[in-house]
């Protein structure tokens, strides 16, 4: 239960304001817990005098069994003024469906947003049994504090056994906050998920920059939490005949819960542009491109193929490309049909970010460059000599192709 140290409590009322269940009231300058407290813990870390605490015990087998089903965070993005689920959500649903069927349990997707939330029935068509919609004016834009508050309330009420997030920048911020708040085990950046003979979620992830894989379980706490790399799993075909429910979750959220204040926003890409995470064809540049000016050639090659340009971490560090175009462990994971690596040696951290590419062409001076280990076609040579020639030939090819 929630304990209140009345000697420490100053009656400031912060807990009363941020409790998602209105389960705390301050009477005579002392906070009091009501019967509807769900032990979600939203108040504990925010008490300025550390007067609140929750005694948590490592759950017994019996307690663990009282948690059931999987929940996926249905992260949304803004498209033409609407909030729609991201592609990674469909990838998670295809995996979630497979795992839930193994356990014969329910698969839910929880979406948070304001009145602009749309296209939620596609989540059911993709395999969800239930969509839980959390709507509130304060949820129109992602804030880790606001979202943590709502999701911790949902977890303490729904008691799911597993909770998955896309390992997107937002997912990687939200999941650890939530895990720390509820004292839950969490595995980052999974590339493989399975269920073991005890019904536990086995989470596989690369470690040491991708040099080694580790399988991890969370044996003591529920829900078992994991963030999952985008573009590792395929999304699966939607089936519009699938049946499911869309339910609303009552959101109580106070502006006091959100302590970060957004001053301004700078978008680097127009809404119409395809991000590298969603691109089918990527031409990626590395240090071997020598000069920033040479990137126009890389862009030209990408244009000739109808693809987009990306780059390695080295180029982000040099400020040649923005972080929104970085492929690799500390950047984005891509899964295109075709990946052309120009002047990229292929450090393990880079390879981890593009391993899901179906076809890889690499151009590099060094015949021992690790990138050639994952390339379907490797060209050992001067990229800045080969690329212009390739563009010239491709331009002819396209014209030739159109004539046919």
């Amino acid at each position: 239960m929630l304990k209140i140290d009345t000697d420490r409590c100053t009656g400031c009322g912060i807990c009363e304001k941020i409790c998602p269940f209105t389960a705390i009231v301050v009477v005579d300058k002392v906070a009091r817990v009501q019967a509807n407290c769900t032990l979600c813990g939203a108040c504990v870390s925010r008490c300025p005098t550390a007067a609140l605490s929750i005694e948590r015990r490592r759950a017994s087998e019996e307690e663990l069994r009282s948690f059931s089903g999987m929940v996926i965070w249905g992260e949304c993005e803004e498209k033409a003024g609407r909030l729609v689920p991201k592609k990674v959500v469909r990838e998670l649903i295809s995996q979630g469906r497979r795992l839930s069927d193994k356990l014969d349990q329910q698969l839910s997707v929880v979406v948070l947003g304001d009145g602009r939330l749309m296209e939620l029935d596609t989540l059911i068509a993709c395999g969800a049994d239930r969509v839980v919609r959390c709507r509130h004016p304060l949820l129109g834009r992602f804030t880790s504090e606001g979202f943590t508050c709502v999701l911790s309330a949902l977890i303490s009420q729904a008691k799911p056994s597993m909770f998955l997030f896309g390992a997107t920048p937002h997912g990687r911020e939200l999941a650890p906050k939530l895990a720390a708040l509820l004292q839950l085990g969490l595995t980052a950046d999974c590339t493989g998920l399975d269920i073991d003979e005890k019904g536990q979620l086995v989470q596989t992830r690369p470690a040491f920059g991708g040099n080694i894989m580790a399988s991890i379980i969370s044996p003591y706490t529920r829900p078992q939490m994991a963030t999952v790399r985008p573009n590792v799993f395929s999304a699966g075909e939607p089936d519009s005949s699938r049946k499911g429910k869309i339910e609303d979750f009552d959101v109580t959220l106070s502006p006091a819960s959100i302590r970060t204040k957004t001053v301004s926003v700078e978008k680097l890409a127009d809404e119409g542009n395809i991000g590298i995470e969603d691109a089918d064809i990527i031409v990626a540049a590395g240090r071997g491109c020598q000069k920033k000016e040479n990137l126009t050639l890389i862009q030209e090659l990408a244009d000739a193929l109808g693809g987009v340009m990306a780059g390695s971490r080295a180029l982000v560090e040099l400020d040649w490309i923005p972080h929104t175009k970085q492929v690799g462990q500390s950047g984005l994971t891509v899964g295109p049909q075709l990946y052309i690596a120009v002047g990229i040696s292929g450090a393990v951290q880079h390879l981890v970010g593009m391993r899901s590419a179906k076809t890889v062409i690499a151009i590099n001076k060094d015949p021992d460059a690790p990138i050639f280990k994952v390339a379907d076609l490797g060209i050992v040579g001067d990229a800045m000599e080969i690329v212009p020639l390739l563009i010239k030939k491709l331009k002819k090819e396209r014209i030739h192709g159109r004539k046919k």
């Binding site: 085990g185 040491f208 580790a214 049909q337 951290q349």
Partner: protein
């Protein structure tokens, strides 16, 4: 003003190789460095200290005794003092146990801080979890993936430019708070001989579990909520064709044929 920078010592990942027979990591002879993202956090802290000379800068790390050399590097860069949490009981900590140990140490020893700076992730584990977990345990507002940080004129707020998926966002929080850094200066600063001499005169405390008065069952492997069950080498894709590009004309012709075969053109 008091700034804490939490740092980690990591192996130079590019030097790590796999023993093909056993599938285990060969870490012998691999050099240890200050995690680059932690170095950015140090740089950001030093930037703030240059603006406000009365700033006290404390570097904190948790790790084996040799992690002291990463803290030494922080002292050379300009930290005023450093603390290393080092104890066999801390071994095997997952991100939760790490964040909890750091949080407890900070609460007990450096509770009067204004700002905590961390790197967005370490290049060996790459989880990016300890920063947000630490903020949550300490009940602090946090901003992740920062590229620039500015102290408000009243010293009570920081304004931070941070990376978001489609660009940047400028966000403000009231202090105390936590910021994780994603970028820093292009050139690593090199310690001068004088920096090295000065660093040796600064305080580097080593603290054990008993110094922190922490319960044993909250520490290390025992306190960890996740458990590694298996470690194995990644699946390696079979190598494709490697052609000589010294004849650019012939090589590009081959590439075109390849693209045609795979129906990209």
């Amino acid at each position: 003003m008091k700034i804490l920078v939490c740092i980690k010592q990591v192996p130079e990942i590019t030097d790590v190789t796999i023993n093909p027979e056993t599938g285990t990591l060969m870490r012998e002879g691999v050099s240890s460095i200050l995690n680059p993202f932690c170095e950015y956090a140090m740089e950001a802290a030093l930037g703030l200290k240059r603006q406000r000379h009365d700033t006290e800068l404390v570097a904190i790390s948790m790790g084996p005794p040799q992690a002291g050399s990463a803290l030494m590097r922080c002292l050379e860069m300009g930290a005023d003092r450093a603390a290393l949490l080092s104890d066999a009981q801390f071994a095997g900590s997952d991100t939760w146990a790490t964040a909890l140990t750091l949080a407890e140490a900070i609460k007990r020893l450096e509770g009067d801080f204004d700002l905590i700076l961390v790197g967005k992730q370490a290049i060996d584990g790459d989880t990016a979890q300890v920063g947000p977990e630490l903020a949550e345990i300490l009940g602090l507002p946090g901003i992740m993936y920062a590229v620039d940080i500015e102290l408000g004129p009243d010293r009570k707020r920081v304004r931070v430019k941070r990376e978001v998926e489609n660009g940047y966002e400028v966000v403000e929080i009231r202090l105390p708070g936590l910021v994780s850094m994603s970028k820093g200066p292009l050139m690593r600063s090199v310690s001068s001989f004088q920096d090295i001499l000065d660093a040796r005169k600064k305080e580097l405390r080593v603290l054990s579990a008993s110094d922190l008065e922490l319960d044993q069952d909250k520490l290390g492997l025992l306190g960890s909520l996740t458990q590694v069950v298996e470690i194995f080498p990644p699946r390696v894709k079979s190598r494709g064709e490697l052609i000589d590009g010294s004849d650019a004309e012939a090589a590009t012709e081959k590439a075109i044929t390849f693209l045609r075969e795979r129906r990209f053109i």
